[in-house]
């Protein structure tokens, strides 16, 4: 009896506040925009019984999805989000790997401190960390001041409000998400395997490439998913650093909802974004469960 209550409590909470809202999003994405509150029709009228349900179903259509294919803004936004997410995930991996590797090879008594240093930015506000780059990347900002002072450039570089600033912002804010899973696989790695490889005539680089890198695969996969999936729907970074020329789907959804007040189209944008993310999310979940079983 108690067991059932224990299961039902979190289960019903998630069904009511996670699953049901998605069904509503799907329903509204199939509805039409209307000048009413809420600004869409039709509404499901439960008091009309089965007939009301049939009327409701017959009024749903795919107009919003057709609309998304006709306006090339949406296509471009999905493609540009995909490109930004893929490229920034790879850059984050390249930046994070040496850090995680250095942490795993550091003397044992340093490791908890290094670990805390990586986690600390993760606990401080995401919004503030993105904002902190605004003063650095601006035209009269500190980076340009520095570069002009040391004579690398004469004219300030235009970085803020370009895609470059968005890449910097993503790599910066998502770095801990990549470092931590990489570190946890690299730390478990048996050092004698590397010694064996070197004894057998590998150079250090070959030993890294043939032994360390393949063995850290789990960490690479987990880290890449943890960066790629949320970046696809990122809103704060393009809104603060990207200016008007960086197109990302999270920002389009936001504007469709808050500025244009077109709820059905915003819902359709969300449904397609979710459809694009279902495969990586399921793969991520499999990977997590496999690891949990391996540990347990």
């Amino acid at each position: 009896m108690k067991r059932i209550a224990l299961i039902l409590l979190p289960y019903s909470w998630l069904v009511a506040l996670f699953l049901v809202p998605f069904l509503i999003v799907i329903k509204i994405s199939l509805s039409d925009i209307a000048l009413a509150i809420p600004p869409y029709t039709p509404n499901l009228d439960l008091s009309a019984g089965w007939q009301g349900f049939k009327d409701f179903i017959s009024q749903l259509d795919f107009d919003n999805f057709v609309f998304l294919t006709t306006d090339d803004l949406y296509w471009k936004a999905y493609l540009s989000s995909l490109r930004i997410a893929v490229v920034s995930t790879l850059i984050t991996l390249l930046v994070a790997y040496p850090i995680a590797y250095g942490m795993a090879r550091a003397p044992e008594e340093w490791r908890p401190t290094l670990m805390m240093l990586v986690i600390l930015p993760f606990w401080s506000s995401f919004l503030i960390r993105v904002y902190s780059w605004k003063a650095i990347l601006a035209n009269e900002g500190l980076l340009n001041q520095l570069l002009i002072a040391i004579g690398v450039i004469d004219e300030p570089l235009l970085i803020l409000n370009t895609p470059t600033a968005v890449y910097i912002g993503i790599v910066y804010t998502y770095l801990p998400f990549m470092v931590l899973p990489l570190y946890s696989t690299l730390e478990k790695l048996d050092a004698s395997l590397l010694e064996a490889a070197e004894d057998l005539g590998c150079t250090r680089f070959q030993a890294f490439w043939l032994v360390t890198f393949p063995l850290s695969r789990n960490g690479i996969i987990a880290g890449c998913f943890l960066v790629f999936i949320p970046v696809m729907g990122e809103f704060v970074i393009p809104a603060l650093l990207g200016g008007s020329q960086t197109l990302m789907i999270g920002k389009v959804l936001w504007e469709e909802f808050f500025s244009n007040r077109d709820w059905p189209v915003a819902s359709a944008v969300a449904v397609i974004l979710l459809a694009l993310l279902v495969i990586p999310i399921v793969l991520f979940q499999r990977n997590e469960e496999k690891q949990r079983e391996a540990e347990g």
């Binding site: 996670f18 606990w123 919004l127 998913f225």
Partner: protein, 268 residues
């Protein structure tokens, strides 16, 4: 002791410089006299004074703290129950769906979560305000709590619980006197995680808040959208300082507890 190689030392130094430099600059410039954030005009604490006279920020901070405390507490209860069910609950109908609903919000883009929750609140006719933000934050925080607590549950020895049951404890007593003390560090970090996530959230709060319940991130976002403001630098510095103190003191207390436990184990 193995010495750290030249390559590793360089990558660690550069990596941590990259992670910390922007925040250090932000804090330094919060003490800048000038209104222009990029020009240094001398030391001053005037922006902190301005900040504490700004009623709108103080109100928003108070809303944010109340939302964070309530939602992370609810999330800890629900998330711990979810973790227990996931790890110890055996098989039950819809378990795959359940674990899917635990993991999905961890990676789901905030815009989708926010939009879907808002549409739910409107569909059931719930007025937007503090309550709706609390419901939204509890939902995603409980998933983080569930993941943190379940990783602790997986790693601890189940025979301890079984021994308690054999010695005549009811399942609830066994949970309270054996399981809970062991998973307590994970439960506490789960609460802290939920608390910071709630403090930090902009997107979901923007969708689910009403006009009377603006949270601090919403206020900060609307202030910095157009440019850089020294007042926000001061506010950010305070928040960074609080988080730093919190994380360091938490890690020191857990380390002390671990050392004490090891000493006790050695003594017996």
């Amino acid at each position: 002791m193995r010495r750290i190689s030249w390559f590793n030392a360089t990558s660690l130094t550069l990596g941590f410089a990259f992670l910390y430099m922007p925040m250090v600059i932000l804090v330094v410039y919060s003490f800048n006299e000038s209104k222009l954030v990029t020009v240094w005009a001398g030391f001053s604490t005037k922006w902190y004074g301005e900040l504490f006279r700004n009623e709108a920020f103080l109100d928003a901070a108070w809303v944010t703290i109340r939302v964070a405390v309530v939602s992370s507490t609810l999330a800890t209860i629900l998330g711990t129950a979810a973790a227990y069910v996931l790890v110890r609950g055996g098989r039950f109908f819809g378990k795959t769906l359940f674990s899917g609903m635990i993991y999905a919000p961890l990676v789901m883009p905030d815009v989708i979560l926010g939009l879907s929750l808002l549409l739910l609140f409107i569909a059931v006719g719930l007025d937007r305000g503090m309550l709706t933000i609390i419901l939204a934050h509890t939902t995603f925080s409980m998933c983080y709590v569930a993941v943190v607590v379940s990783s602790r549950l997986v790693s601890f020895d189940r025979s301890l619980e079984e021994a308690a049951l054999d010695l005549g404890c009811t399942p609830f007593d066994a949970f309270r006197s054996v399981t809970l003390p062991i998973i307590a560090p994970a439960v506490i970090s789960g609460w802290l995680l939920g608390f910071t996530l709630s403090l930090d959230d902009l997107v979901i709060a923007s969708f689910t808040s009403g006009p009377s319940s603006t949270t601090l991130p919403i206020k900060i976002f609307s202030a910095v959208r157009l440019g850089v403001s020294p007042e926000i630098n001061a506010l950010s510095s305070i928040l960074i300082g609080l988080v730093t103190i919190g994380v360091i003191s938490f890690s020191i207390t857990t380390k002390r507890a671990a050392v004490r436990r090891r000493l006790e184990e050695n003594a017996t």
